[in-house]
């Protein structure tokens, strides 16, 4: 029956939040917000479906007729004007004094797949002073080519000269895709570049792939504190830019036989042109802060500890396993522990081989920061705590009874030594 009927846009009014996104999206002026609900004008609606994906509550759909792909998505990206002439997948190689942030190699691993799918080059964008070694290393991790600007003004990162260098390379060589690590530095840089180039930038992506039909980069990321995922496209502007969360993509194995072609460019900037001056730096090693982001084992404590002193026990567990101590937002907000231990949306995203959550209930804002850990263990008195839904192993019990036993057994079995020699985990 439905087959014979004309397709028709319908709305579930009880789900509509009258946000107005569909009204703004509609090219035919066929949807209007009236009071607290969107109303469809059927004389104007062409069933183009553009409004359907934009709706944050999924309250729009088409009934009748056969399922068709959205009109826009079925059309290949216009290979004219702004889109035409752009080719290549580029990765920004983030480095500090020659030490490369591992996310750069992770992005080359992911970029390799994208470039092979598109049939184009994979290149690293290498900026700094005396950075040829970084360019060669980028080759070992999968890049075909490196675009290098070697200039003293780039010795330490500052936004304006780095953005100027990136913009000059991108404007000259026109890559189709530019990936930057969603690090402190990468997020500072990418926003400046994308705005100057007037192109789209998707933040903190956790998934990237190429749409088979349109060849567009599908950029998937969590939003609203990780409660929803969104797939985002940059349809008409180039390059398509993403920042990508560290510890999500896999780096390729380092291969010293791989050769890289190096293309060097100049940057007409000197120190006098840079207005922002760095006048001091206090490294965290002086402050005894944890390196959570790349820790292999993390033991975290939450509100279930009951008091700040509970972190002493968590630290003992971390020490017994050779791990690093983390914390939930609730404990940081309560002032029990410093912010640099915080795992989660407003803290640090981690992906250790083993994550042990002690007395952490598992608010979404925490889960989003640790759910891609290889193995998750939860210890909590509440069997209904959300943390158990993502834990590989759970113990329902009092952490003050279970954790001391874990510490005792880990020491007895000399687990730390085994971990260091790579026997266990």
């Amino acid at each position: 029956m439905a087959k014979d009927k004309q397709p028709r846009l319908v709305i579930e009014p009880e789900k509509c939040i009258a946000c107005g996104l569909c009204e703004a999206e509609c090219p035919f002026d066929a949807i209007h917000i009236e009071g607290d609900v969107a109303v469809i004008d059927y004389d104007k609606c062409k069933v183009c479906r553009k409004c359907i994906p934009i709706c944050p509550t999924n309250c729009l759909s088409v009934e009748g007729g056969k399922e068709a792909a959205p009109a826009e998505a079925a059309k290949p990206a216009e290979v004219t004007g702004k889109v035409g002439g752009y080719s290549g997948v580029w990765v920004f190689a983030e480095q500090d004094s020659g030490e490369v942030h591992p996310v750069s190699w992770e992005l080359l691993g992911c970029g390799r797949t994208l470039a092979d799918t598109l049939g184009c080059e994979l290149a690293a964008m290498v900026l700094g002073e005396d950075v040829e070694d970084v360019a060669i290393e980028a080759g070992y991790y999968g890049a075909d080519r490196a675009y290098v600007i070697d200039n003293p003004v780039l010795q330490v990162y500052r936004t304006s000269p780095y953005a100027a260098a990136c913009i000059s390379l991108i404007s000259k060589y026109k890559p189709e895709i530019v990936l930057v690590g969603a690090t402190t530095l990468g997020r500072d840089l990418a926003g400046a570049i994308a705005t100057e180039l007037g192109t789209g930038l998707t933040a903190d992506c956790t998934g990237l792939d190429i749409d088979e039909e349109t060849k567009l980069l599908r950029q998937t990321r969590p939003a609203f504190g990780g409660s929803i995922m969104a797939t985002i496209l940059t349809r008409e502007q180039r390059p398509q830019m993403s920042t990508v969360r560290p510890r999500v993509m896999e780096a390729l194995p380092r291969d010293e036989t791989r050769q890289i072609e190096i293309i060097s460019e100049d940057l007409a900037l000197t120190e006098e042109d840079v207005l922002t001056k760095i006048i001091g730096f206090q490294a965290d090693s002086d402050l005894d802060a944890p390196n959570l982001q790349y820790a292999e084992i993390i033991c975290s404590g939450g509100r279930g500890l009951g008091s700040p002193s509970g972190f002493e026990l968590i630290q003992q567990l971390a020490d017994a396993l050779g791990g690093v101590m983390g914390a939930s937002r609730a404990t940081v907000d309560a002032g029990w522990i410093s912010h640099d231990h915080q795992v989660g949306q407003t803290g640090i995203t981690v992906r250790p081989r083993l994550y042990i959550a002690c007395g952490i209930s598992g608010a979404i804002q925490h889960l989003v920061g640790m759910q891609s850990s290889d193995t998750i263990v939860a210890i909590n008195t509440d069997p209904d705590a959300p943390i158990f839904q993502i834990a590989d192993y759970g113990i329902v019990g009092d952490l003050y009874q279970v954790v001391p036993e874990l510490i005792r057994l880990a020491k007895e079995r000399n687990l730390k030594e085994k971990l260091l020699s790579g026997v266990a985990f």
């Binding site: 703004a24 936004t159 490294a283 965290d284």
Partner: protein, 267 residues
């Protein structure tokens, strides 16, 4: 005398969001923006001057701006128009920058403060976007302002980086994005609460700003949302029994499982 504007956003309280449906979720002033506002008020107390808050959003976002008034802010402006709906970060920074230009024309501008990011989108892109459009030095992840030298026209700021705290100096006008450690929020004073309750937020529409219509809202956005979906469910793991009756046994069983799993994954 320091002329400051804080850019703020009203957001759904994501700590209250657990499903796709966001109906009935309370709206709050973005927490990072609250710290940026507090930072501006503290700078005003130290150096003199005034603080204006600016937001782009629907009419109900005026509530978030009133909250800022209770913190001790002098003036609040809401940039609100259907034409702005559906803006991505590119179109948002365009519109907010237009608002800042208008404010700068009226009262001058030495310092723009933003939160590090908004907790709904988590992009951290609008601050750098505004700095780029207004050609201001951008100082992201600020944790503290050491000094403002009004004679020299410079600001010295501490930034939270991944491996430490960096101190930078930039000429004014400049733009800061602030993190939570910047300050402790204070309770609003009674006079400021009364002022906030009675305050009428100024509303500017697209017609009040010097903007090109095709660069606003959804039309001016480079990115489109193709699909929104629930995050994949994790497979529920194994509960090791005996957690309360036999903690030692449960702990031993857990370590056995972990070692066994590690051994199989090594193969």
């Amino acid at each position: 005398m320091l002329r400051m504007v804080v850019c703020v956003k009203q957001v759904p309280d994501t700590t209250e969001v657990h499903t796709l449906i966001r109906e009935g979720v309370p709206s709050i002033l973005n927490p990072f923006d609250a710290h940026a506002t507090e930072a501006a008020v503290q700078l005003k107390e130290k150096y003199g001057g005034h603080v204006t808050v600016l937001s782009m959003g629907p009419p109900q976002a005026a509530e978030a701006l009133k909250k800022c008034i209770s913190f001790g802010v002098d003036r609040a402006i809401l940039v609100s128009d259907r034409a702005f709906a559906g803006a991505d970060t590119l179109a948002t920074s365009y519109t907010v920058a237009a608002g800042l230009r208008k404010i700068a024309g009226e009262e001058g501008l030495d310092l723009v403060l933003c939160g590090k990011q908004a907790i709904d989108g988590d992009t951290a892109q609008v601050g750098p976007g505004i700095a780029c459009r207004l050609d201001l030095p951008q100082i992201t992840y600020a944790v503290g302002v050491d000094e403002v030298d009004l004679e020299e026209g410079t600001i010295t700021v501490q930034r939270r980086l991944e491996k430490g705290v960096q101190t930078v100096q930039a000429p004014l006008p400049a733009l800061l994005t602030c993190v939570e450690e910047m300050n402790e929020l204070r309770y609003a004073s009674l006079p400021n609460m009364i002022k906030a309750a009675r305050y009428e937020v100024e509303v500017w529409t697209a017609a009040d700003l010097d903007t090109e219509p095709e660069r606003l809202g959804l039309k001016g956005s480079a990115t489109v949302v193709e699909r929104i979906f629930a995050p994949p469910e994790h497979e529920r793991g194994e509960i090791i029994p005996g957690g309360s009756e036999d903690p030692a046994g449960a702990a031993a069983a857990l370590l056995d499982k972990l070692i066994e799993q590690a051994a199989t994954s090594e193969e």
